[in-house]
Symmetry: C2
Subunit: 293 residues, 2 copies
């Protein structure tokens, strides 16, 4: 990862620490669990994508940071709820006990709920130097990416597909909702905050984002199958245990890798025609398939 | 209830039905569960309070309806999650099987998550004839009322207070967060949308809202102890079973009734000095203590 992206990730970590509440007069455990779940690891891919698309289209990192944290809070809450015993029942996350293991199931449920509310609070709050119309658009993009027709819908589809063999087309739709919708929202919000892109460009960026989102999830599935629990920081081979359909299972590992690389190549080609101010989006797109964990 | 309030409740029911998704290409069960949880009963007190405070300060019912539905979705999601086995473990809600009984636990968790996202989508979406600044203020009020320092924080405090005897002051703080924060947000959002109230009036309304919210919860606790499961539509005596502190337990039923009536009387007195365009808020305040279920 180049030094500019490392600096951005550092800035995101600092901002998350600053924005998450530290003390509560009514429920200190909740605040502790919100910080535990959010601040103990995570690749920060979604907030980095948001920052990269914002600065790539002429916005500032300062404008992007709070919305970037908002999208990471949504991602974090989804992991907490996905890990619950009645969902994927995963005990390990980012190499540490999952939130429901560390704090108990009721607090884990409420922590997810509180993180989702806080994400919208951040976008509506006084933290950001963003025009009102772009803020409302960001809230709309985030709520739709996270909601019934996006991430949450995809998670349900994922649960329902356990012990079933999906077609490639069904699996693609699952990934586009479960992982793709929030990654797409991250990139779209960055563009909306920068506020300079024309409609045609926004459409191109949407296609770019969808390709990246799918590639990201395919690589995730490959890693689940090929890496150890220690490297992943979460239980390896969980897809096999839950008997889930994945691209490596349907296509094989090598063809899946190739498909992910091809998606990223297509995505990068799409950007070539746009007047990007920096190449961070391209760098991040490549990282999505090159990452080892 | 007077006919104007009945008309408003009817309008809220229609708008909820209109705004909730009916079909999904990816997760039809999720959409079904969202409709089941939201459209099968509920007193609609919070959305009615929002509509009454909006029209009382010169806004229109048309402006208030979508935000009113948003607050009802937040309330509904909180009931779904509160009823879960690891939380209050209640099987019955509004006289019907709770969402996790009707659809299973994973879908119930995701349904709550999706309803929360949809609430913010409604406030950010194109449905409403509300100026941008009032929309952002509404999103801020809703996210804070629903979040770690409001409803969700109060729910955790409630769980932690099982098998403990709280002082009246601790119990008041619990209720102010768990129930009061969202009721207060409803009234505040109505005022924000109308957009006519001065700072002094907004402060008065906040005090009014807090008193109403506390009175509402005290009456809820009295009903839990004194009414049957059939009348309540949810398991009666659940507070005793979970060994929770309540006002009727700490003060006795009659003194609790008197306290709730006194709170409403004080609240109504506060409104007398404000230049309200109608008396619906006063009517609703009285309904909060007179209701039988």
């Amino acid at each position: 990862m180049n030094s500019e992206l490392i600096d951005i990730r550092e800035a995101i970590e600092h901002k998350l620490d600053e924005l998450l509440p530290k003390e509560s007069l009514i429920a200190q455990k909740l605040v502790d669990a919100m910080r535990y779940a959010t601040l103990t690891g995570g690749k920060r891919i979604r907030p980095m994508l948001l920052c990269a698309s914002c600065t790539g289209f002429g916005g500032t990192l300062e404008q992007a940071l709070v919305p970037a944290c908002a999208i990471e809070l949504i991602h974090t809450y989804s992991l907490i709820h996905d890990d619950l015993p009645s969902m994927d029942n995963d005990d390990l996350r980012h190499g540490k006990p999952a939130t429901h293991i560390a704090f108990g199931e009721p607090i884990a449920i409420l922590t997810g709920d509180a993180l989702q509310a806080l994400a919208f609070d951040l976008l509506a709050g006084p933290h950001t130097e963003i025009p009102g119309s772009a803020r409302i658009e960001s809230i709309r993009l985030l709520s739709q990416g996270a909601g019934w027709n996006g991430m949450v819908g995809g998670q349900l589809l994922d649960l329902q597909s356990e012990n079933q063999t999906l077609t490639l087309e069904q699996l693609r739709r699952l990934h586009e909702a479960k992982t793709g919708a929030l990654i797409t929202a991250a990139i779209q919000i960055g563009v909306a905050i920068a506020g300079t892109a024309e409609k045609k460009t926004i459409r191109t960026i949407d296609t770019f984002a969808r390709k990246i989102g799918l590639a990201f999830q395919i690589v995730d599935d490959i890693l689940d199958e090929s890496e150890s629990t220690t490297v992943l920081g979460k239980p390896a081979n969980s897809d096999t245990e839950l008997n889930k359909s994945t691209f490596p299972k349907l296509l094989g590992i090598q063809p899946s890798k190739k498909f992910a690389e091809q998606l990223v190549e297509e995505a990068v080609q799409l950007l070539a025609a746009e007047n990007l101010k920096n190449s961070l989006l391209v760098d991040l797109a490549k990282i999505c398939v090159q990452r080892r964990y």
